[in-house]
Symmetry: D2
Subunit: 337 residues, 4 copies
C-alpha cells in the first residue's frame, strides 16, 4: 500500500501516519519530494483498510499495490485449480458442460431433458428448485420437492446436479442432494450466506453479481475460502450496463482477466446474460474460444410453456448442434470436451 | 399488457396467443393492422409474466402498461404513507433525521455521539452491529453485543434505534431491540430475507441496490409488503455508474420518481453515496430541497480512528451546522424539522 | 506520478524506467522495499502519459498523483472564476438563470417566451438553431435562420443569447450572434471543435458528455483553455446509467466535486437529464441548494406542439412558480438571484 | 407505433391524439378497454417522433414497434452487404484483418510494421495520423504528414489504408489517400461530420460510441447512408461500464444482435476495448468464433517506445501466432481468412 501525503503535509502529519501504519505491524519507507511525500507500506497489506488512512486530513490518496485477496490469488497458487464435481473435473483444460431447465417443473420434464442433454454431451444437469424472482407474484420454484426430483433423475441418468441455494436454512438439504451449489448473482454479496458455505466442502458455483467488479467477485470467493471451503468455481453471467436490448452485457474479458488474478476455474452462462435463445450459440462459441473452463446453458423441451425464462432456453435439438460446434472450436484451440 | 405480433404472424398464431392469455383469466382485445396485429390484455396483469409470451415465435414484443406492483403502488393508495418508528413519524411532511456512527464500537462511543446528535436535532440513532464488508478480513461488526450497546444507549438518550439486519437468523433479536430495521443495498434482492420480514411488523428501511432500477426496488418493497409487513421506508444511497471519483452516484431524481410510483416514504443517505464527508453537506441540502422524507447521515466523534467508513463521517460540530442549514431549506420549502 | 515496479523487477529494469522518466525532464526518487520498489516522479507530470510506462514489462502500476490539468485546476487558481456573458455575471455567487425553448421555431414563439421568462426572472435566453438529433429524419433545427431570430429577439427583449454550436464551420456566425456558445454533450470530446473555440474569446458552456468522468470533462475544458479561450462554464446535464425510467441520471455530486477540482462556474440543466417536465422543479431546487452557479431550463409556451423535447419543457406559468421557489432556497443558503 | 392512453383519458383526449397522428399521414386503430385505450399507428412510423405524443397529458406511454432506421435495416435488405475496400471484400463471410500501429510515427516504422503484418496475413493497414486524445498535452498525431507516410507505404506494400478522420476540414485529403475512413467512438454522434460523409462514397468504419446503444449506433450509420454513402462497416470497440480493470467492456453480443438488426458488416477491435495487449488474443478468437466480419488489431514493432497506446499493441511475432489461431477457429466455423 502506498500513502501519498498532501503537498502541505507537515513533519508531524507524516509521523502520525507512519506510526498509524507501524502500529498495525507493517514497515514503512518514506520518500520526501519537493512537491509531495509518499509513504510505502511494506508487509502483508491484505488486511489493511485503505480508508483508515484516507480519512486523515493530511493524506491525499491511498493506493493498493497488492491485491486484497490471498487464498484465491494466483500469485500464491500459480497452478490452475481443478474442482471435482462428483467425478466430473472442472478446470485446467477440463470443460464443464452444464445444461438443463431454468426451473424444475416435474419429474417427467427433468428426466426427458436430462436424457437428451446427456446424449448430446453435457456432463452436469442444472435445474432450479428455489428461484430468485424480481416479483413476489412470479413462480418461486418447487422448493425441496424440486430437489427430490433432481435426486431421482440423477439416480436414473447419472449426471451430477447443479442447483441454486438462496438461504442458509437449506444448506443441509443442498449438501445432501446437490453436487455443485450455485450462488446466484443477487446473492454474490450476501456475506452471511457466503460464510455458511465454509461449513461444508461441496463445490460452489459463484455467479458474478450484476454490478460486481472483478475484485469484488474474487473477494466473495475469498469469503467462502477463508470460511473453510476452497472448492469455488466462478461463473460469468453478464453485467448490467446502459444497453437494454440484451438483458445483460456478457463480459468475456472476464476470462483472461480472471486467469491472471486467480487459479479458480471460470465458467460462462450465456443464457442468462443475453436473455434470448438466439444469442446463446454465438456467445457459447466465443466463450470457449476465449478459453473458459465450462458453459452453463439453459435447455428446455417446451420453452413456449416453461414456467420461467423460456425465452432464453434452447430446445434439445439446437443444443445438440451447438455441442458439435463447441467441440470443433475446443479442438481448434487444443482442448477436448 | 400489450402483445405485439410479428408482421408475418398467421391467424393461428394470433389465436394461440389469445388463448394463452385468456387461460390466465384475462380478457383480450385484438387490433389487426396492415403491418402488424396487437393484442391488448385487459384485467389484473400484475401477476402475468411477459416472458411467457415473448417466447412465442410469432410474438414481436410484449409491453407492460400497468406497473407490476400493487401494495406499494400510489395508484391504489394515493395518500402518502406515514410510518411510525417508535413514536417518530416519517412521511407526508415529517422528516426523519437519522444520525450516528457507521459501526458500534463501544458504549462510550455510541453514548457520546447519541447525546450530541440529539442535541443537534436528530430524531433517530443509527449504528451498525453487523457490517457487510467486501473483504472477509475487514472488521465485521460487534454483532449481538453491538445491539446490546444500542439498547443501553436508547434507555439513556431516548432515540429510536436504526440498525442493519444481514440474516434472518437474527430476526428475533432485531425485532426486540431495533426500532427501524435496515436492509442494506447488497441484500435488496435477498428475496429469502425479504420474505422473513413479513413475519414481523417492525418498520423496515429498504436501501436501494447499487444496480437496482426504480421498478426492482419498489418490487423488493412489494415482497416485504406481500409477505405481511407494510411498514416500509425506501432509502436512496447512490447507484454504481462509470464515475469512480465518488463511491457511488447519488440519484436524487429518485425522489420525484418514487413520489409518482409509490406512497411509501423516501429517505436519502448522502454519506454512503459519496464516500467522502465533504460531499455530505451539499447533498443533504439538495435532498431536502428535492422534497425527501428524511436523511441518514454518518456522524462520528473520532473519524480518524473509526473502525469503518471514517472518511464519510461528519464530526458532531459539523453535523450541528448542517442541521441548521437543513432547517433553513426545509422552512424555505414549507416543511419543518 | 508514482511508478510501482513488479516484485521481480531487476536493478536493470529499475534503471531503465528511471532513465525514461528523467529523459522527460523530471526528477525521480526510488523507494526499494522487500516486496516491491517504487519510483516517485517529481516535477510537472501534467504532460506525462502514464501509458508510456505501463507498457514496460517490469512495471506493475502507474498512478497519477497530480491532476492532469493545469489551467482549469483550482490548486493553481484558488478564487472562483466569474464569467461575464454580455453583462450577466456567472460564478462566485452570481446565479445564471437560462431559460427558453429547446429549438427556435419562429420569431413569434421565441419572442413570446423570451418576454415571459424575463418577467419571471431569467437572465439569459436559450434557443437551439442547430439541433443534434439521434435520427437523421428528426427536425434538425432552423440553422442560421434560427440565429437571426434569436438576434432579433435579443434586440427587443435584451437577454443574452445561449445557443449550441455543432460545427466549426459556423464559428464566425456564432461569435457574432451568440453570447454564450453551448457545446453539447455529444461533442464534449469533439477535440477538433474544442480547439477551434480557442480562436475566439466568447464564453463557452461546455456540457458534460453522457459517459464522461469528471476528469475527462475538465480535460475538455482544459482543451479550450489551452487553445486560448479561458471563458468556460461547465454544465451538468445527466449521465447515462442502467436506469432507464429517466432519460439520464442527474449527478448533483458533480457540483461539490467540481468545486474542489476547478475554479470554473458550474451550471445544471435539469430538463435534459430527466427528460420529463415534472422532474425539473425538484431537481432545479436541489441544484441550487447544492450550490450550483446557475440553471438552464427549457420553457415552451406550447409544449404539446413543440418541434422538439416538449415533454421536458415547463410552461411559462410553471416556470414563474419555480423561480419563486428557487429564490426562497437561494436566500436560505445566503445567495440571491 | 402504439400510443397507450391514461386510464382517465376522455373521448376528447382520444380524438385529439388520433387527429394528431392522422395529420402526419398515418392511419390509426383504436382499442378501447375497460382500463385503458390504445391507439395503434399504421404506416411508416420511422419518421414519427414518439415525444410529440408523450407530451400530451392524457397519454401514458408511447412505444415504437418498428425500428427507427430504414436504409440500415435488415428487414428491408435481407442479404448481408459486402463492402469493397480497394479490392478487399468485407462481409458475408469475407473477413477483414486490419492491423498496424496506433499512430503513424515515421515512414520506417510504418513500413516495417506493414511488411510484417502483411506476411502474417493482414489484408489492411491501420495507422492514426490524427489522434483523439483526452489531454490537450498528449501527442496529437502527425496530421497530413502522417497521411503522406501511409500513402507511401501503401505504394510499397500494397495494403489498403485505414485511418481516422476527426474533422470535415480534411475530408478531401482522406478521400484521396485513405481507403477506409474511420470515425472514432467519440465522434459517433458528431452528426455534422456524419452528414459530410455522405458527400463521398469511400467506405466508412463507424466505431461504436462508449455509451451508445445498438439503436443509436445503427442510427448513426443511417445518418451516413441517408446522406448518400451506403458503404458503412460497424466496429465494436468496447463500451464504458462500472468495471475499471479493463479500459472498456468488449460487448461481443453486439455481433449476433447487429446481425438481426442490420445487413452491414461488423468488425471488432479488441485492442482498444481492453487496453492491454494480453487481452487481445482471447478476445480476437472469441470475436471470430462469434461470427464477426473482421478484426482490427494494434501491432507495433517497439511498443515500449510507442508514442501512443503501446500497452495494447502486440509485437509482430505475437500477431503472427494470433493469426494462426484465428485461422484455426475460422476454419472450425466454416470460414476462411
Amino acid at each position: 500500500m502506498i500513502i501519498v501525503m498532501k503537498p502541505r503535509a507537515t513533519k508531524e502529519d507524516i509521523s502520525r501516519v507512519i506510526s498509524k501504519v507501524e502500529k498495525r505491524g507493517l514497515a514503512t519507507h518514506l520518500v520526501e519530494g519537493a512537491e509531495m511525500s509518499i509513504i510505502g507500506c511494506i508487509g502483508d497489506t491484505t488486511r489493511l483498510d485503505p480508508k483508515l488512512f484516507e480519512v486523515d486530513e493530511a493524506v491525499d490518496k491511498v493506493m493498493h499495490v497488492q491485491e486484497p485477496y490471498k487464498l484465491a490469488n494466483k500469485a500464491f497458487h500459480p497452478e490452475a485449480t481443478v474442482i471435482d464435481v462428483d467425478g466430473v473435473k472442472v478446470g485446467a483444460g477440463h470443460l464443464a458442460l452444464i445444461a438443463g431447465p431454468c426451473s424444475v417443473e416435474s419429474t417427467e420434464q427433468v428426466l426427458a431433458i436430462a436424457k437428451e442433454i446427456k446424449a448430446s454431451g453435457a456432463n452436469m444437469l442444472r435445474g432450479g428448485a428455489f428461484k430468485p424472482r424480481t416479483s413476489p407474484y412470479a413462480f418461486q420454484g418447487m422448493g425441496l420437492d424440486g430437489l427430490k426430483i433432481l435426486t431421482e433423475v440423477k439416480k436414473e441418468v447419472g449426471l451430477p446436479i447443479v442447483s441454486e441455494l438462496m438461504s442458509a436454512e437449506y444448506l443441509d438439504d443442498f449438501n445432501e442432494h446437490v453436487d455443485l451449489i450455485q450462488i446466484g448473482a443477487r446473492n454474490m454479496q450476501n456475506f452471511d450466506l457466503l460464510k455458511h458455505l465454509g461449513d461444508i466442502d461441496k463445490p460452489i458455483l459463484l455467479k458474478r453479481g450484476l454490478n460486481a467488479t472483478y475484485d469484488e467477485w474474487v473477494m466473495s470467493a475469498e469469503y467462502i475460502m477463508a470460511s473453510g471451503n476452497e472448492n469455488v468455481i466462478l461463473c460469468e453471467r453478464g453485467i448490467r450496463t446502459f444497453e437494454t436490448y440484451t438483458r445483460n452485457t456478457l463480459d468475456l474479458q472476464a476470462i483472461p482477466v480472471l486467469r491472471k488474478m486467480t487459479h479458480l476455474p471460470v465458467v460462462v452462462d450465456p443464457s442468462h446474460a443475453g436473455g434470448r435463445w438466439w444469442l446463446v450459440e454465438s456467445m457459447a462459441k466465443a466463450a470457449v474460444a476465449a478459453d473458459c473452463d465450462g458453459l452453463m446453458i439453459e435447455v428446455h423441451n417446451d420453452p413456449e410453456n416453461a414456467l420461467c425464462d423460456g425465452a432464453q432456453s434452447l430446445k434439445p435439438a439446437k443444443f445438440t448442434e451447438l455441442v458439435d460446434q463447441i467441440r470443433a472450436i475446443a479442438s481448434a484451440t487444443g482442448k477436448s470436451l
